[in-house]
């Protein structure tokens, strides 16, 4: 047994070792042990950095009150972000800087005197995201600017303008500049170095992306944040620059709140361009993902042509889902904005149940407007597609003039089918609502078999009062078409009014 430490360590020496004020020559073994225990961080100890920083950014975003971004940042998203970052194979390779301020007071990081990393602040004259959220953007924005300056070979202190930044981010030199660990956090954030140019362009608020076709490579959660903070004009330019496939991929991967925010931020023309660029399946997915409020705002913002193109592109299922999601006023506004042909195509594409739900949701004014906009055959197809109850509800909702216009627009076959489909009570209500001229036209349009069926369906009192409103010549014409069996069943009051002969 050595006698080197036979006296043992004193309380005072222990306190000095722990407080970093020990004489280096005293208790060298313990000093080495404590120095080793408190050595600067090793790479393997910092594996959770990306997750921690992402969690920090997420929590900070959640605590900063930015209403337009609010709904996106919820705990489930934070979990998702964390999981995604954990799953990402891009490792952050950092180490060496963790300072050790304990007993032996030495560090593994060299103090590079010329490093002015934090000095390249964005200037207010430069394009920048509209909501300069420091947690999301301050560090990465600085890094992106530094990367662009490197790629552009800019001299120290030179600030690149929008065109310079765009050119630099598109430069082939960017790849080699990215290879150092300086930009490791950008690569991590963007899920790969290939995505960094677009990531930086969006962070810097540039309307022209270096690689628009690759935008979908950015993780959805990041895209959601980046797109949500762009000003409307820039957002429109960015989305309009995307090829259809990329645009589809981007919009269909955004979570619903972000998608809603992005689409409702776009000005009408840009919105129209974006949605009409999407192929049918993507369009359907995008519109059916939107919550009712966002969907209403999007569809009622669009000009008639864009709206028509969008709705007539949707497959039956998507169209039904979209229209039945809209609240009554929104639905009314959307359908009454459309021209006759588009409206016909839309209403005749839907299956009966969806069509019924849509028409019975409309308020009386909107319903009248929609049905009276349809051309005769379109109207016939729509009304004859409805089941009896839906048809009853639709026709009895219409005010007298609207009802008259609708029924007198229908061609004879359609009119026959409509009136003979109605149950007796609805048929009574419909016909007694019609003003005399409309009633005359409706009944004289009906071919004899349908007229017979209508008159024999109605109770005698109703037939009496209906026909009693009509001029004798019309009644005479009607009765003249009926078979004897039906005529004999007519109320005597009707027959007594007929002209003799």
């Amino acid at each position: 047994m050595s006698t080197r430490h036979s006296r043992g360590i004193t309380r005072k020496a222990a306190e000095q070792l722990l407080g970093g004020t020990a004489d280096p020559g005293r208790d060298p073994d313990l000093a080495r042990l404590l120095a080793a225990a408190a050595a600067p961080g090793h790479e393997a100890e910092l594996g959770g950095e990306a997750m921690a920083v992402t969690a920090f950014e997420t929590h900070h975003l959640a605590s900063v009150a930015i209403p337009r971004r609010g709904p996106m940042i919820k705990s489930p998203l934070a979990k998702l972000l964390t999981a995604k970052v954990l799953a990402a194979s891009v490792a952050v390779c950092v180490t060496g800087g963790a300072a050790f301020a304990a007993s032996t007071a030495f560090t593994g990081s060299s103090s590079s005197g010329g490093s002015q990393g934090g000095s390249a602040q964005p200037t207010s004259a430069q394009p920048a995201p509209s909501t300069a959220n420091p947690a999301l953007a301050a560090g990465p924005i600085r890094l992106c600017r530094r990367l662009a300056s490197l790629a552009a070979g800019a001299t120290s202190g030179q600030v690149l303008g929008q065109a310079g930044l765009e050119q630099a981010l598109s430069s082939p030199a960017l790849t080699s500049d990215l290879s150092g660990y300086t930009f490791a956090s950008l690569i991590t954030n963007a899920h790969g170095s290939d995505n960094v140019p677009d990531y930086c362009a969006l962070l810097l608020g540039l309307p022209s992306l270096p690689q628009p076709g690759d935008l979908a490579g950015l993780p959805a959660s990041l895209l959601a944040q980046l797109l949500s903070q762009l000003p409307a004009g820039t957002l429109g330019q960015v989305l309009a620059s995307l090829p259809a496939a990329t645009l589809s991929q981007v919009l269909t991967t955004l979570p619903a709140p972000a998608l809603s925010q992005v689409l409702t931020t776009l000005p009408a023309a840009a919105l129209s361009q974006v949605l009409t660029t999407l192929p049918a399946p993507a369009l359907s997915q995008v519109l059916t993902t939107l919550p009712a409020g966002g969907l209403t705002q999007v569809l009622t913002t669009m000009p008639a042509t864009g709206l028509t193109q969008v709705l007539t592109t949707l497959p039956a299922g998507g169209l039904t889902s979209v229209l039945t999601t809209l609240p009554a006023t929104g639905l009314s506004q959307v359908l009454t904005t459309m021209p006759a042909t588009g409206l016909t195509q839309v209403l005749t594409t839907m299956p009966a149940t969806g069509l019924t739900q849509v028409l019975t949701t409309l308020p009386a004014g909107g319903l009248t407007n929609v049905l009276t906009t349809l051309p005769p055959h379109g109207l016939a197809r729509v009304l004859t597609a409805l089941p009896a109850t839906g048809l009853s509800q639709v026709l009895t909702t219409l005010p007298a003039t609207g009802l008259s216009q609708v029924l007198t627009t229908l061609p004879a076959a359609g009119l026959s089918q409509v009136l003979t489909t109605l149950p007796a009570s609805a048929l009574s209500q419909v016909l007694t609502t019609l003003p005399a001229t409309g009633l005359s036209q409706v009944l004289t349009t009906l071919p004899a078999p349908a007229l017979s069926q209508v008159l024999t369906t109605l109770p005698n009192s109703t037939v009496s009062s209906l026909l009693g409103e009509l001029p004798g010549s019309v009644v005479s014409q009607l009765v003249g078409e009926l078979p004897a069996s039906v005529v004999s069943g007519l109320p005597t009051s009707v027959l007594s009014h007929l002209p003799v002969g």
Binding site: M1, H5, G8, I9, E15, L17, L18, D27, D29, L30, A31, R32, L33, L34, A35, A36, A37, A38, A39, G41, H42, E43, A44, E45, L46, G48, E49, M51, A52, V53, A55, F56, E57, H59, H60, V94, T95, G96, G97, A98, A99, F100, A101, A102, S103, F106, G108, S109, S111, S112, Q116, G117, G118, P134, A135, L136, A138, Y181, T182, S185
Partner: protein, 206 residues
């Protein structure tokens, strides 16, 4: 020797500043509390290795999981933290300790003791170059493992003081004890460690 990789200069500069003193750590802490992610990154790089080594003594191989939980809580609550750089390290250590105790309660057991390979310990004791020892990851693991063999109160006291860098009063707050009790525990721990090292030095090579 551990391979060192260059880091982002702004973070590196911030860490150099941390090394320069607690005032700089306080400044970085304030930046992070205002939402600067790069400042938060610097805080992480400064504090995470310390926490991880402390946790290794408490929960063994589960230290990284508990450290992740700790950072999730730090990132969530950082804005509401009041205090300076030193206070931050104490706060972080308190959170780490609570998470570790939760973890132990969940698992209803103490972790198996960390075994220190005899040759690592001998290497630690035989080194003449203190600086080289401290840059050696193997030496760090061996040192932390050796400290973890102490009775828990002594191991915690030594790690909080020497690794996390807390003074006796702050360490006492973390442990819920009086500063005198922490000084005594740390002293006893160092005395035991010195004895182990001496034995390792004098043990004949295998």
């Amino acid at each position: 020797m551990t391979h060192y990789v260059p880091v982002d200069r702004s973070v590196e500069a911030a860490l150099d500043a941390v090394a320069a003193g607690a005032t700089a750590l306080t400044a970085i802490l304030e930046e992070a509390q205002r939402g600067d992610a790069e400042a938060f990154r610097a805080l992480y790089r400064d504090t995470q290795p310390r926490l991880l080594r402390y946790l290794r003594a408490l929960v063994g191989d589960d230290a990284e999981d508990v450290a992740s939980e700790t950072w999730l809580q730090i990132s969530r609550d950082l804005a509401s933290f009041h205090g300076d750089g030193d206070g931050f390290r104490g706060w972080a250590a308190t959170i780490a300790r609570h998470r570790a105790l939760d973890h132990l309660r969940r698992n209803a057991r103490r972790p198996p003791p960390i075994l220190v390979p005899a040759e690592d310990l001998a290497g630690l004791a035989a080194r003449d170059d203190t600086a080289a020892t401290a840059l050696d990851a193997v030496a760090t693991d061996a040192a932390v493992a050796l400290i973890a063999t102490l009775p828990p109160d002594q191991a915690e006291a030594v790690l909080l003081r020497a690794v996390i860098g807390l003074d006796a009063a702050t360490a006492a707050t973390v442990l819920g004890k009086r500063p005198g009790a922490v000084r005594t525990a740390a002293y006893r721990g160092l005395r035991t460690l010195a004895r182990h090292l001496e034995q390792a030095r004098t043990r004949p090579p295998p």
